[in-house]
Amino acid sequence: MNVAVAKTGKGRAVSDLFTSAEGRLPGSSAVTAVRREAFETYERLALPHRRIEEWKYTDLRALVGEVLPLAAAPDAAALKLAADTVKTHAIAGARKLVLVDGVFAADLSDVKAFVAEVGFKTLRETLEKDAGLLKTASTDAVISLNAAMATDGVVLDIADGAQLSAPIQIIHIATATSASAFTRSQVTIGKGARATIVESFVAAGAAAYQVNDAVIVSVGDDADVAHIRLMDDAPDALNVSSHFVTVGANVKFNFFNMTTGAAVSRLQGFITLAGEGSELSANGVNLLQKTEHGDTTLVVDHAVPNCVSREVFRAVIDDRAHSVFQGRIIVRPDAQKTDGKMMTRALLLSDEAEADNKPELEIFADDVSCGHGATAGALDDSLLFYLKARGLPEKQAQALLIQAFVGEAIEQIADDGLREHVIGIAERWLERRS
């Protein structure tokens, strides 16, 4: 009886969320129909909880409870605040695309700098004609909610053969406290193109907000792509992001995710290797403290033969924080000669820190080389003593060892400048800690 009431209560709250926002959600009537359907799916499933296998370690019902109302479109004051934040988080030389509280901010973005080989539209513009972007191959409650509620995003179309020397940086900025932003973007990379995409999530004065983002990436044959995601949302924020990546043939795809913020976060990446001869390097670092909960979930689907995938994941967990890594490698029956390896390690800096590592191999082909490893442990006392005996104070000795530990994942970033940028983020996190 009580349970039923609670469910109705939650359902009604979501209904209010949707109906009150509907007037602000862009799209044709066809889009509205898709949104309604997605919303009904979400309402039926409600927030994921621990009895849903994929969400076993990240029980959003317990951790978050409710979805906050849609953030208002940013006013002049919000945009001013965001402009300052853009300056501090912009990667040197990058072409910036800025979303403030879920709405594309043209004045803060470098759209005019895009050359002819990069097509750009907003999600809002795209949805005037077509609802296709709201549909994804795999879906769950948060993805459905994103489809129902997405207010804006960027839609990039990088031409065949384009060689982009400057990274494209998508910066998500939150200025609205106790509100939600829903964004959805698409990046299409042409055959033989070379591109670097960076996503940054940061707060500009906002607290206790929620981010639900989705990114659909499609990589053409022979392309060379780096995709770096840096999530440093406010310490009391929620960030749930879903990536859907389809990789063509003979592609080099280098992905890296860094989690340094948010009270609760989950990045779920669904990467399909759909063309032969491709190499995927998918790596990440979670740096967590206090009571933060950070979940990195990667599903790598080898759908065709002769692809290589490598995953290196590191978590550093202090205080009472909780890190989750779920890595699934699927090898389809036809995907012979697959070479898939995954290594995840967690470093626990306190007795109350928690790490859940869940590597899974689902292999349906018989001529493959796949493996995974997982470890969890504390800093090595003998190494700490050696460093202290050489004059390093405790915290500095720890910091040096932690840097070395996460370095194993960070060094997988191919681009020198971005690698240094990420090392800088790790250093600042360590300074914050001491």
């Binding site: 090595d380 006392d381 003998s382 190494l383 003593f385 050696y386 460093l387 202290k388 005996a389 050489r390 004059g391 390093l392 104070p393 405790e394 500095q396 000795a397 040096l400 060892l401 840097q403 070395a404 530990f405 370095g407 194993e408």
Partner: protein, 260 residues
């Protein structure tokens, strides 16, 4: 008191007084007394299990040892009150018997971080990069340490000889006033030993003392001590000049087992 000492002899750098140390409820040092003056090289010899390495670890501040009685003074200050990094900054250096490998921490970065941490603790300016590099190059050249070794992780993939040379390199860089060499000869062939010992000898100076801990007399052919102590069962049971080492080589430690 130290002024008086300086007038008649040399200043006592390290004073270990009636030191009693336990590891997990078992007493290892049973009242050890030892004084090392500046400029002197002392050898501590003794059989396995006599407490030699325990002494070196307690002086450096390694956790896991419980001092139940006695004291250790360094330049007149209570060493046991200091954390290991404070001891290092004050000038205590332990050359490890088994230097650890630290993957992912480049040797050069480690050396600079450690040196600057010590200087900062002493209120000195950090080394400038050119000065630091110049100094590292000089010292590493004299120790036959190739530059590419300094780019690798600390001791990662180093041979036994290279690890010991890396310890001597640090001694030369940090310029400690007390160097404790814990079984420096273990795992070294004669050529590697000679290079490491030459490096140590180059660091002998009137203001610096050394304590050479060894099981075998062999090392003392290369690093010739001023004073030799024999340890047995957690105490110093005999002290003498360098000839005592040769005596031990001839007659063995058995004669001291009962004396302890």
């Amino acid at each position: 008191m130290h002024h008086l000492n300086r007038l008649d002899t040399k200043m006592a750098l390290l004073e270990v007084k009636d030191l009693k140390v336990r590891v997990e409820e078992r007493e290892i040092l049973h009242g050890l007394t030892l004084t090392v003056n500046e400029g002197e090289v002392h050898a501590i010899m003794g059989p396995n299990g006599s407490g030699k390495s325990t002494l070196s670890h307690v002086i450096a501040g390694k956790p896991g040892y419980e001092v139940t009685d006695g004291q250790i003074l360094f330049k007149g200050e209570d060493l046991l009150e200091m954390s290991p990094d404070e001891r290092a900054a004050k000038g205590v250096f332990l050359a490890f018997q088994y230097p650890v490998e630290i993957p992912g921490v480049a040797t050069m970065n480690f050396l600079r971080t450690a040196l600057n941490a010590q200087r900062k603790a002493r209120g000195e300016d950090e080394y400038s990069t050119p000065d630091f590099l110049k100094k590292v190059r000089e010292v590493s050249k004299s120790l036959n340490i190739p530059q590419d070794m300094l780019k690798r992780g600390v001791n990662v993939g180093f041979s036994g000889g290279e690890k010991k040379r890396n310890e001597v390199l640090q001694m030369a860089l940090f310029e400690p006033s007390l160097c404790i060499l814990d079984e420096m000869d273990s795992g070294l062939d004669i050529d590697a030993l000679r290079i490491a010992a030459d490096g140590v000898n180059a660091l002998r100076s009137p203001g610096r003392a050394m304590v050479v801990i060894t099981h075998y007399q062999r090392l003392l052919n290369y690093i010739v001590p001023d004073v030799v102590h024999v340890m047995s069962k957690g105490r110093v049971v005999k002290s003498g000049g360098k000839e005592l080492a040769l005596e031990l080589e001839a007659s063995g430690y058995a004669q001291f087992e009962d004396a302890a």
